[in-house]
């Protein structure tokens, strides 16, 4: 390699000097990021881990809230695992993830395929579909609540026009059956433009020769889609399902907005009363805002564990060839 000459004197190294040089520059380039990450991400995680074994109590002085937290051992974790509301939060998150992640991947892909042609105005359409992604989730959620209103919202009126009176009577976010799908629907519509851009980028990177080869082999359009395009897009699908999972585990503002901060309509689960849209992110927020910092930290670590397991499974299934 001509680059070896950079090592200067040409002496044979077990490990060429330029590699050290390269490594030093590597560290130089990551230092700013790593510094910020260490202070504002890694330290907080370690600190939260410490907090997850402590808890505030009624008499915690606000001026010294953290020093005033008491050691409780594993009680925060045990409390959570024994609470049916926590289990419902997990189930609701899981259901929501199943509703939102595959749908948004499919919708994004479909949109990308539609707009991957020289359809007149394709550029404007791409931008138009992308635009809602950048809006504040909370604000969009509030508007959707207005749209889902059973009395004055256009959707209930639309379904009545179709002859379905059910929504007029039971609402969209007012019954435990349709609340999660309704929120998921709103969020898929909002986010599919972003996925579309990602898929367009990925499509862009697929060499044309592959499709030419497929055509020569006599593949029709459907075969090309399922046997060529989608397998080649697998890394992007993996990426989107992992980031989708991250998004779902963090999802909070949409639930806060679309349930008027209540957590949604109540129903019975494992003998306890739970609220249909109190997903893990919402649950966590409530713990946080009620100053149960220890419980909140413990819950985060349980969620992290679950997230890691799902991601690992994801990689096993989707990442085989990636």
């Amino acid at each position: 390699m001509s680059i070896l000459t950079l090592s200067g004197n040409g002496r044979p190294h077990k490990r060429p000097l330029w590699l050290y040089y390269d490594a030093i520059w590597g560290y130089v380039f990551i230092v700013p990021f790593l510094l910020v990450a260490a202070v504002f991400l890694i330290f907080p995680i370690a600190y939260s881990f410490y907090l997850s074994f402590r808890e505030t109590w009624l008499y915690s002085n606000w001026f010294d809230q953290f020093a005033d937290m008491r050691y409780v051992g594993f009680r925060n974790y045990v409390d959570l695992l024994r609470n049916p509301q926590f289990w419902w939060a997990l189930v609701a998150t899981f259901v929501y993830a199943l509703l939102v992640i595959p749908t948004s991947i499919a919708a994004s892909l479909a949109l990308a395929l539609f707009l991957n042609t020289r359809l007149p105005g394709y550029r404007a359409l791409r931008s138009a579909f992308f635009l809602p992604h950048v809006f504040d989730v909370f604000v969009v959620g509030i508007i959707w609540l207005l749209l889902y209103n059973p009395q004055i919202g256009p959707f209930a009126e639309f379904f009545r026009w179709l002859g379905v009176e059910w929504f007029k009577k039971h609402g969209f976010v007012d019954n435990p059956y349709t609340i999660l799908p309704s929120i998921a629907f709103a969020m898929v519509l909002k986010g599919m433009g972003f996925g579309m851009i990602l898929f367009l980028t990925a499509l862009n990177n697929i060499p044309d020769s592959i499709f030419e080869a497929a055509e020569i082999d006599g593949a029709n359009a459907r075969q090309k889609l399922f046997y060529v395009t989608i397998p080649l897009l697998r890394p992007m699908i993996l990426f989107m399902s992992v980031t989708g999972l991250v998004g779902v585990l963090n999802a909070f503002a949409e639930f806060y907005a679309m349930t008027k901060a209540t957590g949604g309509v109540a129903f019975q689960f494992l003998g306890a009363t739970v609220q249909a849209a109190r997903v893990s992110g919402f649950y966590l927020y409530q713990l946080f805002s009620d100053a149960f910092y220890g419980h909140a930290a413990a819950m985060s670590f349980i969620l992290l564990l679950i997230g890691l397991v799902i991601t690992w499974v994801n990689f096993r299934i989707l990442g085989k060839e990636a």
Binding site: I30, L119, L147, N204, F211, L225, N250, L303
Partner: protein, 296 residues
């Protein structure tokens, strides 16, 4: 470019032969345009409601009857000209914080992304995997420790405290690392052979080739911070000169009132600047990212 995707979806007849172009386009529009309307329904609804007179925001009516004042500018006037509501100050602060955060994020993510993509150093892959794992940690948990740190550093009521804690964006790092990894090594080697310094290589080769991704990250960070509410609320005391727009707008949500018309007028201010920004900037990044992904 060969055609593959133009004939992949909803564009084939049973025999597998492509449909005539006009039909294909018509079919595409028949699917896309209603969908587009649906996607933008919240935006339309917001704008219409923001112009409605008190009480009309909760009526499914759009055409005023004779002698009826259904639409008004009053809701906007209140946001703009209320003497107790320094709208422009809030907007300026939001702009500073969102821009600052986006610039720093892009800078450090590009540098680190380059290192993780193209440099070989001990611990690289382990470090990267570790950082990616952090993405799975629910975001709200960072709030309390970050707040303690900002207190410790004395950054309450400062732009620094509002900006810096959110700049280590791991998603951004991932995005840039993936992109830079795709750049051919030969380009970097060529630069080195030409005697370019490390810094020179970075600025002359890596940065120019990463502009679309950098702009994407810039805009995503910008909008994220533009609407960041909770952090900017707690890191500023209410008498801080650095309050941002979402915090200011939350003052509008009176104690018990739900005046949809005014809420939507407020919401316009959180959404429309972003919409304008994107309409202006989209060609730099949507086209940059997807350049060439048009098949005919």
């Amino acid at each position: 470019m060969a055609n593959f995707a133009n004939s992949t979806l909803a564009t084939t007849r049973a025999y597998g032969r492509p449909m005539p172009k006009a039909w294909r386009y018509a079919l595409s529009y028949a699917v896309l345009l209603p969908l587009l309307l649906l996607v933008h329904l919240p935006l339309l609804w917001m704008i219409i409601t923001a112009f409605k007179a008190p009480g009309y925001g909760t009526k499914l009516e759009f055409i005023p009857r004779a002698g009826e004042a259904m639409y008004t500018l009053e809701n906007f006037r209140q946001v703009f000209f209320d003497k107790d509501f320094p709208f422009y100050r809030f907007a300026w602060n939001s702009l500073v914080v969102a821009t600052g955060c986006a610039v720093v994020t892009v800078a450090i993510c590009t540098m680190a992304g380059y290192a993780f993509a193209k440099k070989r150093f001990p611990g690289r892959d382990l470090l990267f995997a570790g950082l990616i794992t952090i993405m799975l940690v629910p975001g709200i948990i960072f709030m309390v420790p970050q707040y303690r740190l900002v207190l410790k550093f004395g950054w309450i009521n400062t732009y620094l405290g509002m900006i810096l804690p959110h700049t280590a964006n791991i998603f951004g790092l991932f995005l840039l690392r993936q992109h830079i990894r795709g750049l051919p090594d030969s380009l970097l080697e060529a630069a080195r052979v030409d005697g370019a310094s490390e810094i020179g290589t970075f600025f002359r080769i890596v940065v120019p080739l990463s502009v679309p991704v950098m702009i994407t990250l810039f805009l995503l960070t910008f909008v994220g911070q533009w609407s960041n509410f909770l952090w900017q609320l707690i890191v500023n005391t209410p008498d801080s000169p650095h309050l941002t727009l979402p915090v200011g707008l939350s003052l509008f949500q009176g104690q018990y009132q739900t005046e949809w018309e005014k809420m939507m007028a407020g919401a316009c201010f959180s959404i429309l600047p972003i919409a304008v920004l994107f309409t202006v900037a989209q060609r730099f990044f949507i086209q940059g990212l997807t350049a060439g992904s048009v098949k005919e």
